[in-house]
Symmetry: C2
Subunit: 317 residues, 2 copies
């Protein structure tokens, strides 16, 4: 099978996941890629339903994302935000004017009873996104971060308001037991030749998706590969490395491979700077592959996606 | 009593009401003026609670109003609106970016259970408005316009979406029977030396306020005067003249004086161009006074307010 004819499901959180999803979308035709996105970070701000990871993925795929921040829209303005500050509204989470329209329209439709997956499909069509983007679930799931200093915090409270400063003790995904995968999620996985776990935070971006899918045996026959979000012991963005360390695990690509483990993973992609860890990954009965995984340019996204697809082809020819 | 020491309650709808309220606020100290504003036009748009008349009055008193349109904010931008259009949201009612913050914050607080009057008081403080602005009620009242061509329409549907084109047969104020005056409304009227009915639409701006207050005998001992919104048979803005005509009444300042009538009104202010109608107004046992009532400049607002206060002083020395 040629890489570009593979049917792929990508699991994605925010920035890193969105970039690899964009790389895959540059290679795979729309019918061959479904991106399943974490919604555990979703929260209510200014009375609006905000889905940060979904929006980052959609804005990235639509070419609307702000490349400097990794979140929000490019060429953004802050006129509503300035007035909200003047009116005394909470100002620790910034919503730009263009971005705000997304939350307004989504909130209105959710209140009218429309499921998030249906709203997302329609918004994607209006943004010109041709590949399928699915929230992991239409049901409410809330990622809670248990911390030493402040007890349990809702994810955005920890992530944005407290700037990831509190020491992490553990995680809880409120509502996950009763959350059903959104329509199309299980069907896409069943129809997939391969599953790509994007370089997103294993603890708070990918785990909620995996726990929503629940029956992960389906992954074992489908050549699942993960791309490490940890490079040289650090994350490009976000608190994944800090979380590993605070949970007593030396942060490294190897720790990520162990986190998912075999038999869930058939293969694991780590950065060339971590090539020394390939043997240790192989010892986990996971096939390692090292390449450049930094996606600072659009070309890098496509190149990493091509490398990952070629790797999958070698794993399951 | 000097005019500037009078305690005055002003009843106001949108643009015309806001301008005279602004003129009164230029003369009267904060403790001597309460503006009671129609909320029958309030509606939900994009899932947000919008109070057009309250906002016009507040923006005008705060010096934030757009002088060209008569509604919305000056130096407004439309970045959210443009994105909302792209997402397929209803676009017949335009909400600017700065204006939107008001609706977002109000909606969030209403959903949290705070009454509109309390939210309005706080927003006014943040905008630097020192005079009291009260919604007529904290309860839901919806002005419905019965039309020949389209049946009954919600007010904004008639006013903005259908551009006042359908022929009016009558009005209904849904919820008015059980609507209680907002906290402070009756107290302000009881404490007032005079009541000024601003040059707002009698049918759809002032009548809802009067019907919410219900017991109008309180007006009779308080020197109530109205300023005609109809000048030379026409309105400066809005459909009041068209409504009179469609209801079979020749539109004129006299028709407005008759609409309120005696004993509700002690005095009536009509424009100098309508001076020929003063005798007919006097025949209604209402004291007429004609002066320039066009408020195209800030100075005109203050001058008309001064003329009205001087007139009241002569009526009830």
């Amino acid at each position: 099978m040629k890489p570009e004819t593979m049917s792929v499901v990508a699991l994605a959180g925010g920035v890193g996941g969105a970039k690899l999803a964009d790389g895959l979308a540059q290679i795979l035709p729309p019918e061959n890629l479904t991106v399943i996105v974490n919604t555990g970070d979703d929260f209510t701000h200014w009375g609006l339903n905000v889905s940060p990871d979904l929006d980052t993925v959609c804005y990235t795929l639509a070419g609307l994302a702000n490349p400097a921040t990794g979140w929000g829209r490019m060429d953004e303005t802050w006129n509503v935000f300035e007035q909200m500050e003047r009116l005394g509204a909470e100002a620790w989470f910034r919503l730009g004017d263009k971005d705000l329209a997304t939350h307004l329209e989504r909130t209105r439709r959710l209140r009218d009873g429309e499921p998030l997956s249906s709203i997302t499909r329609d918004l994607c069509a209006r943004w010109g996104i041709r590949h399928a983007v699915l929230p992991m679930t239409d049901d409410p799931v809330a990622t809670m971060v248990d911390t030493v200093e402040m007890g349990e915090l809702a994810f955005q409270e920890y992530f944005v308001h407290q700037r990831c400063e509190p020491t992490v003790k553990g995680f809880r995904f409120a509502g996950i037991e009763s959350a059903r995968p959104a329509p199309g999620v299980l069907e896409a996985i069943e129809a997939a030749d391969a599953i790509v776990i994007c370089p997103s935070n294993p603890w708070v971006s990918v785990d909620p998706i995996l726990k929503t899918i629940k029956n992960l045996e389906i992954f074992e026959s489908r050549c699942a590969v993960a791309v490490s979000p940890i490079i040289g012991g650090k994350t490009v963005k976000g608190p994944a490395a800090k979380m590993f360390a605070e949970l007593g695990i030396v942060p490294s690509a190897l720790a990520v491979a162990r986190h998912y483990g075999s038999p869930l993973l058939a293969g694991f992609v780590l950065d060339a700077v971590d090539a020394a860890l390939t043997e240790a990954v192989a010892d986990l009965t996971i096939v390692p592959f090292s390449t450049n995984t930094i996606m600072n340019l659009s070309d890098n996204r496509r190149q990493l996606a091509q490398d990952v697809l070629n790797f999958i082809q070698r794993l399951a020819p």
